[in-house]
Symmetry: C2
Subunit: 392 residues, 2 copies
């Protein structure tokens, strides 16, 4: 029996600013993003039929598990069912996909998908230690490596194999900070130069402080409805053309080649097939630049350029918002900030702004109609690729 599915639209978006929110807790962050999304769609909380929340490590960061029920409770939505999903830094992307299936299948007609992380007010151990929970703890974290260490290994090998220069890596951060300078919600809104990156503190050779995304607090929310009902909520529905997820090894040592993330390629190929689109159809891209090397790797693994040639994309301006291949127009994880559970949902919020034509001047991609989001957990054990299109 082949069952029909409905098209699903994003009909409301909301996000907090990303950064250090010392006076705001997990609940308040979600409430701010959630109320903004509800206002955007002109709905009330009671209209929501299911809550899905992406959150990586409420337990480690603030002593709080049971995160989705807490959100439903705090927002006055009881007895609405609430589900937390976790896939490390891909928690938000996976949450979106769970929400998508819930609507596409006809189980629910209005679903709130949130993502949240409160990282600065660390409870118990350090943030770097909590983040290491995204690795295979027994094989990697236990022996003392950190995610900067893991991505440094990748960067070393990649530079050796393909001749990527330190300057090209730096240009990823420079571009992302430039975009963030037009984004009032970004964690860092300052512009930087290649030299700033090259002289910033060494974290894990060759990665320096300005190659690394920051520890941020923040939340984002999107509201999903059947496309056929979308105009009840918005003049510009954004259709989810495809959202696909793939798994890969958690540990780096188990990969055939550490310069490629197979789950990215797998999820991307599935998503393009499902959407009936090619790479050339994409007008704006959000990729998971937890470290500068990750943005380059991801663009290659997504199929936007040949393996080994990603660095060259940064020698001219083509990844800027006015270029041929606009990437991370909100500043990416690097400059917009990376509250890990929120990131995958924030990428969707950014694409919706772009496709609606609502992004700030300086970072809006002219006439963007189709966007792609790439959300990655750990060093690539979970990847979600989502393709969005402005509704007709």
């Amino acid at each position: 029996m082949v069952l029909k599915k409905r098209d699903v639209a994003i009909v409301g978006i909301g996000s907090t600013s990303f950064g250090e929110h010392w006076e705001t807790g997990l609940k308040e962050l979600v409430a701010e993003a959630g109320f903004a999304a509800a206002d955007d769609a002109g709905i009330r909380g009671k209209d929501i039929e299911l809550v899905v929340v992406g959150n990586m490590s409420g337990g480690r960061f603030v002593g709080q598990e049971h995160v989705a029920a807490l959100m439903a409770d705090h927002l006055g939505l009881n007895p609405t069912p609430a589900v937390r999903v976790e896939a490390a830094c891909a928690s938000g992307g996976v949450a979106l996909r769970e929400g998508y299936m819930a609507v596409a299948s006809g189980f629910y007609d209005l679903v709130a998908v949130g993502g949240v992380e409160k990282m600065t007010d660390i409870y118990g151990s350090g943030a770097t230690s909590a983040l290491a929970g995204a690795m295979d703890f027994e094989w990697e974290a236990y022996f003392g490596t950190t995610f900067a260490g893991i991505y440094a290994l990748i960067a070393q090998r990649y530079m050796h194999e393909y001749g990527l220069t330190r300057e090209q890596l730096a240009k990823v951060a420079v571009k992302n900070h430039y975009h963030a300078s037009f984004n009032p919600l970004a964690h860092f809104q300052n512009r930087i130069k290649v030299e700033d990156v090259l002289t910033s503190r060494l974290v894990a050779d060759p990665l320096r402080l300005l190659d690394c995304s920051p520890i941020s607090d923040g939340a984002a929310c999107v509201l999903l409805a059947p496309a056929e009902d979308a105009r009840k909520y918005t003049d510009t529905p954004i259709i989810i053309e495809a959202t696909k997820q793939a798994s890969g090894t958690l540990s780096l040592f188990m990969r055939k080649n550490i310069c490629t993330i197979e789950a990215t390629t797998e999820a991307a190929n599935q998503a393009f097939k499902d959407a009936g689109m090619s790479r050339k159809d994409i007008d704006v891209i959000e990729v998971h630049d937890c470290f500068t090397i990750s943005e380059i790797l991801s663009l290659e693994d997504l199929g936007f350029c040949e393996k080994g040639k990603g660095g060259k994309l940064y020698d001219d301006g083509q990844t800027y918002s006015d270029g041929d291949l606009p990437v991370n127009t909100d500043g990416g994880l690097k400059a917009s900030g990376h509250p890990v559970g929120a990131t995958g949902v924030k990428q969707i919020v950014e694409l919706v702004k772009q496709l609606r034509g609502e992004a700030e001047k300086g970072r809006q991609v002219k006439g963007a109609e189709i966007g792609l989001a790439h959300n990655l957990g750990g060093s690539g054990a979970t990847v979600v690729v989502t393709i969005l299109r402005r509704g007709d």
Copy 2:
């Protein structure tokens, strides 16, 4: 547009023993349960299209988040998508429900739903502190209460309101230990007497050590397929007639009445309506007896007896496997053990055994055809009620 759904069947089950597994990690526990389920259904790992894992606090217990991807990886299932869901002690029930929707909707044809917790090898802080993450941390845990404390408050009030006796409470544990004495997978297989409970160490007045479910390690797994395909895998498919979830307040002080858990009643009413059944149709029940008082409260809130009269069910033998209302025939959380993320899935494994007629002598309910599972998170902020029926 109303979309059709498919009936969903459970076609394979597997479980580790519950207890202290000092030489077995998170991955090995899931592998043992997963391989057992695959053997039971006669499938290979590669046949699985989606993995859903319920896990409450891998981060706090063993430093491990990204739990579902780890499982897919360890079991050789890459690039199969893997989703961890968390809803405190209801994580397993919510995972089952996510798996159910994935199959009912037609998105997937074979889904593995696992539940796991590794609690004894505690990483960082104590298990009681980690479990407190299921409360509203800022309103309850921060001020020093524990779950034994929370349920003690409920028990005190309930005994005051309805005249429940200390002996009746004890009889819940006595019955569950009796059932567990026939269950080779149970954490505690010893029989106890009312006097043993009454003289065990006081934990939080009136609850004593033998009123409390233990800290356990363990994993359970079920395989879901469309009912129409079920006989490819098993001679006795078990149909998921309904699985419903509801949310309630995390904090006790926000409830109108702490002697009732509204989310249980809500989820149960929805489930019975969806299944087109009444309480009288149920032959065997798994309820969430994290503490003895919870079993009594839950039977009332589920509608199996009038509020305040639950204690009387224990004055004769009717909750035993040969009684009119067999409850927790595997020993429940109290004696079978409570690895929190695994519990909701293990309840389903137990019901499937009962409905197949495969439970051990002494605890098998004769001719059981329909069973109900009640899985609860925290003090009732998440509740999942699932009704299963032996396929024709």
